[in-house]
């Protein structure tokens, strides 16, 4: 996993609430047995005017000029901002894989759905919860100024505005530790395998019908 320490990028505004994981990556792309290659199909049904399938010649597809990621000013965006309950619905990790593969490193929203939120951290993608009013102010500022960029300083837990003002955010200490160091949490848990074995021993003594 790519470590996430501090990152600066252009912000793309996706002005929608309840963006679900079916919209982020439609079901026809979940048939892949790989973790990569989902980026071209991120938001496929919103991004393109035709119906997308795996293996298509993407150069031939007609983009939806209305969709925000197709606006030239957001072509190089690497930070996404959206409204509340981002990532609701299916648990598919293909959603953060697609967002990360497209090139985003962070998502700002007033709230996220639980499973999506947890999946992001496993893939070097930082979801940041900010108050709805702050998100609203950011939407306005982004719409006003082309090339609007933010710096995200995970170590100091702050979003740095172009004015150099800082907005602090909360992040769970363990998740931050893993993200900053690019750690695989399976490796970390394996260090406790003796504790797990000891737990199992007493657990199955008590709950013998589960053996």
């Amino acid at each position: 996993m790519k470590p996430f320490i501090s990152y600066t990028g252009i912000v793309a505004p996706l002005d929608r609430a309840n963006v679900d994981t079916d919209a982020i990556i439609p079901k026809q792309f979940l048939k892949s047995i790989k973790k990569t290659g989902f980026g071209p199909h991120l938001f496929d049904e919103w991004r393109y005017l035709d119906h997308g399938e795996s293996g298509m010649d993407m150069a031939q597809r007609k983009k939806n000029p209305e969709f925000v990621l197709n606006h030239p000013r957001y072509e190089k965006a690497t930070i996404l901002i959206a409204r509340e309950n981002f990532g609701c619905g299916s648990s598919r990790e293909h959603a953060p894989w697609a967002i990360e593969d497209y090139g985003f490193r962070a998502i700002l929203a007033p709230s996220f759905a639980d499973i999506f939120f947890s999946n992001c951290f496993k893939n070097g993608l930082l979801p940041i919860v900010l108050p709805a009013e702050t998100i609203d102010d950011l939407f306005k500022a982004i719409n006003k100024q082309e090339g609007y960029s933010l710096t995200i300083d995970l170590e100091n837990q702050s979003v740095i505005l172009p004015s150099n003002n800082k907005i602090n955010f909360q992040v769970d200490a363990f998740r931050k530790h893993c993200l900053v160091n690019g750690l695989d949490d399976i490796g970390l848990t394996m260090q406790h395998s003796e504790t797990i074995k000891a737990f199992e021993k007493s657990y199955y003594q008590k709950n013998s019908w589960l053996l």
Binding site: N18, K27, E93, D114, N123
Partner: protein, 467 residues
């Protein structure tokens, strides 16, 4: 003794270790399907890690499988690879799997309970958000992502924070024709799709106690649509009599021993929840979603909303977008919405009781002329066999339904069962998101009897007005 909620009892009995509010939680049962597991098994292989406890795993292909004649195999080559990959992984790691042509095959959240693989007191995970279904048994059941699937395969544990507790109490008795699906949709209409975020819901109250296990599963299944990662119902006699004599459930002395423990799996009197919402069961009417999120729902006597009446600009835009996508006018009575296709199935509503409920409405009737396709998709091979024993298949077929093989089918349209752009479906599934049942498809979520009634009339009708 300290009073505890059911969630706290389940969580605390599985703590392997804690570090500053981050817990390592032991997992009893791991359900696996073909879509969210291949990358996890690949991760194990790359890192030369074995499966920690292969006995804890039950695997089944369900999302991609065809619901038509299976003797021809899977025609979509990419779906075929994914299903074969599951076969290969189960063989390689020595896991129990019910392959596509086994009559025990079915939707993962139907077969777990059916096999007695889902038991009270367990922690249960699956790479699927509707894992919350299994909470109906007094278990802590949560949906996880593929990285977490790999983590559980390798360590038998999951890294979790404590959820907040949320009691949803449904008092009183339900009216005739009102089902668990209506309770779930009415709740989501009230609290919204993010109402349960960060919480584990426990459903309590007289209406809940009166539900069968099938009904409780429907309700817990939809907890995720309310944003809650887990839904649960306390253990009672209904739970225990469902479990008895299932292939994987404990027998004899072990069952007696288990029962003593299972009976403690309820929230203690005076236990404190972080949040409580109370619904009155006898006020719940049949529910129909009109929009593109399960919270966009009204009772059958209601109308589509008028965005002009909404002062919050962002909410107004959501209503406008949803009505436009759904091809519906504001202030339209839902009874006047005409339907093109019917889907009775999914992990929400494909169990034997759901099929009985729909067949009861359909008996001796025909689907309306405007219905292009009506699908009845049993949740498992065993549900299908049971339904056929009861003659339900004939009722469906005589009414004009297609009687299919088990799988997820048109709930998410990963196989060939799907809506075409602009088609409108009365569906017993769980999500009405844009494109969920096929690009451009329009989904209305309802109970099985409401879907059956809509198939007969060609538009939504109030099930309570039918005999």
């Amino acid at each position: 003794m300290q009073v505890k909620t059911l969630y706290e009892k389940l969580f605390e009995s599985h703590i392997v270790r804690e570090d500053a509010g981050t817990y390592l939680i032991y997992i009893d049962r791991h359900l696996v399907h073909e879509v969210t597991s291949p990358q996890a098994f690949e991760g194990l292989r790359i890192n030369h890690r074995p499966v920690w406890r292969s006995k804890s795993i039950l695997a089944v292909p369900d999302h991609n499988v065809p619901t038509t004649d299976r003797s021809l195999g899977i025609s979509d080559p990419i779906s075929k690879i994914q299903v074969e990959k599951l076969d290969e992984n189960c063989k390689h790691f020595g896991l129990t799997q019910f392959p596509m042509n086994d009559n025990r095959q079915g939707i993962v959240h139907v077969i777990g309970p059916e096999q007695g693989s889902t038991l009270p007191g367990m922690t249960i995970v699956c790479g699927d958000s509707h894992t919350s279904t299994h909470g109906a048994f007094g278990a802590l059941a949560i949906g996880i992502g593929t990285s977490e699937v790999e983590h559980v395969l390798a360590t038998q544990c999951l890294i979790l924070k404590k959820f907040k507790t949320f009691e949803v109490r449904v008092d009183g008795t339900l009216n005739r024709g009102i089902t668990a699906k209506d309770i779930a949709l009415a709740l989501i209409g009230k609290i919204g799709t993010a109402g349960g975020t960060g919480h584990a819901i426990e459903f309590t109250g007289e209406s809940i106690r009166s539900l069968s296990m099938e009904g409780r599963m429907t309700l817990c299944n939809m907890a995720i649509e309310a944003g809650a990662r887990a839904g649960m119902v306390a253990v009672d006699d209904v739970t225990i009599s469902y479990i008895k004599d299932r292939p994987f459930s404990p027998k004899g002395e072990e069952l007696e021993k288990a029962k003593v423990y299972w009976k403690t799996l309820h929230s203690d009197k005076d236990a404190q929840f972080d949040k409580t919402v109370i619904l009155n069961g006898n006020e719940i009417l049949p529910q129909v979603t009109w929009g593109t999120s399960p919270e966009m729902v009204v009772s059958i006597d209601g109308m589509t909303p008028d965005p002009q009446q909404e002062n919050d600009l962002s909410k107004r835009k959501s209503i406008e977008d949803a009505l436009a996508y759904m091809g519906l006018a504001p202030n339209l009575p839902v009874c006047e919405i005409h339907i093109d296709k019917i889907f009775i199935g999914s992990c929400t509503n494909s169990r034997i009781e759901d099929l009985r409920e729909a067949a009861h409405v359909l008996k001796g009737k025909k689907i309306a002329k405007n219905i292009k396709l009506a699908l009845a998709v049993p949740g498992s091979g065993l549900v299908k066999i049971q339904a056929e024993k009861e003659g339900l298949d004939k009722i469906f077929i005589e009414a004009g339904f297609e009687w299919r093989e088990p799988g997820c089918s048109m709930c998410l349209a990963m196989n060939a069962d799907r809506l075409n752009p602009g088609e409108r479906c009365a569906s017993t599934s769980n999500r009405n998101f844009e494109g969920r049942q096929g690009q451009g498809g329009r989904t209305h979520l309802v109970s099985p009897s409401m879907a059956a009634a809509a198939s007969v009339y060609g538009h939504f009708v109030d099930i309570r007005t039918l005999n």
